[in-house]
């Protein structure tokens, strides 16, 4: 399974970016290979509108089944993720990526719906 995170940096010690659409990085963890892949999303700041759907498209392309984030996506992005079958977990805004993964594994995050 692949798990994605909205992040402020490219590695396990980076903090979760509480923003969904305008997140600076997307990190994708593959549980089978235990690899953490980083996608630089900083170009998103050039989008005047529609940052949410654009980032949702990237998550779809990454083949993640779960996205872990802070405040949660706006309605547009939430719809795209729902259609793609990606589950959204929120409330990790104060955590580092490694802490967020642990919280997710311990069922401590909130499922967004």
């Amino acid at each position: 399974m692949k798990i994605a995170f909205t992040a402020k940096g490219p590695n396990w010690n980076s903090k979760i970016d509480p923003r969904f659409g305008r997140t600076e990085y997307l990190l994708v963890y593959d549980t089978s290979t235990e690899e953490l892949k980083s996608i630089d999303n900083r170009d998103i700041e050039n989008e005047a509108h529609g940052a949410g759907p654009k980032t949702a498209g990237l998550i779809y392309e990454s083949e993640a089944e779960v996205i872990i984030t802070g405040n949660g996506p706006g309605e547009n992005a939430a719809r795209a993720l729902e259609k793609a079958g990606v589950k959204i977990y929120t409330g990790a805004e104060k955590m580092k990526i490694k802490e967020a993964l642990e919280a997710f594994n311990n069922n401590q995050l909130k499922e967004y719906n």
């Binding site: 923003r19 305008r22 050039n46 005047a48 405040n71 949660g72």
Partner: protein, 291 residues
């Protein structure tokens, strides 16, 4: 570091005056961000020095190179915004009407149309007369605020707050409920809603709180000019109770707000001791640090 965003649905509720008062009370412990870019008035109260500025671009606008143009007219035919005009076989773009969709540039058979970034305004980082940092922006005529600009202002403010080890970012949020407000709220730790007891004030309060609730951000509310309509004030108080929003205080209709604006100072510096606002700031800090 916590980010506090002050919003209000409708204009004229005193949001900017109160945000500036909080900036005063934070006493050097905050970086201030003016995200109300359509009516960016914070600088009038805080006298920033505009020490750093840069151009800000948002969206695109089409431009026709008349040397390359063969006057085939395809762009004018396809444009849904009537933004392309023809005068004596010469085609040009009306920048006010151009939406920046790029359709014309894509279909021009001789590639005579380019899409250029549109200059939307200026972006500033200043030190204010209260000696805190203010991040602000100014839009040119006809340019619109966007999630992009708000995100940029907030991001800069957060980065500076972290660098300067400040406790808070205090942001004057965008009005309405559209994209700029979503961007104002996104990533915030705490929201203060300023409202007034009028029919439209109540109406707008409900709409913005819907949004705040969806983002799951703790919120509190100040009712300004509470005495101009006591009945409506009661209704708002009931509404806040039933929706679990902390009611910070009721502020009476006072000439002090306007006279402070006139003097270019915050209401805290205008003679009267604004105990209510002081108390509100204490409650905000208490509430935010308990979360």
């Amino acid at each position: 570091m916590k980010e506090i965003v002050v919003i209000s649905g409708k204009g004229g509720t005193g949001k900017t005056s109160l945000t500036a008062a909080l900036a005063y009370l934070a006493d050097g412990e905050a970086v201030i961000a003016d995200c109300d870019v359509d009516a960016a008035d914070m600088h009038l109260l805080l006298s920033p020095d505009f020490s750093h500025d840069e151009d800000f671009y948002s969206g695109e606008v089409a431009h026709i190179d008349t040397d390359l143009c063969t006057s085939c007219g395809l762009c004018m035919e396809k444009c849904r915004f009537s933004a392309i005009h023809r005068v004596n076989e010469e085609y040009s773009v009306n920048e006010i009407d151009c939406e920046g969709c790029g359709y014309c540039a894509r279909i021009c058979p001789v590639n005579a149309i380019t899409m250029n970034d549109q200059l939307a305004g200026k972006f500033y980082i200043s030190t204010t007369r209260l000696d805190n940092t203010l991040v602000h922006a100014r839009l040119g005529a006809g340019a619109e605020n966007s999630g992009k600009l708000v995100a940029k202002v907030k991001k800069k403010a957060r980065t500076l707050a972290e660098k300067e080890s400040k406790d808070y970012v205090i942001a004057d949020g965008s009005p309405g409920i559209g994209c700029p407000v979503i961007s104002s709220l996104s990533g915030a730790d705490y929201v203060v809603v300023v409202t007034e007891p009028s029919v439209s004030g109540m109406h707008d309060l409900k709409r913005v709180l819907e949004l705040v609730h969806k983002f799951d951000i703790p919120a509190s509310c100040i009712i300004n000019k509470h005495d101009i309509n006591p009945g409506m004030t009661n209704e708002i108080e009931d509404f806040l109770r039933s929706s679990n929003i902390l009611h910070l205080c009721n502020i009476p209709y006072t000439a002090s707000f306007t006279s402070a604006i006139t003097k270019g100072i915050t209401i805290m510096e205008n003679g009267e001791d604004q105990m209510l606002v002081r108390e509100a700031w204490r409650k905000i800090k208490e509430d935010i640090n308990s979360k």
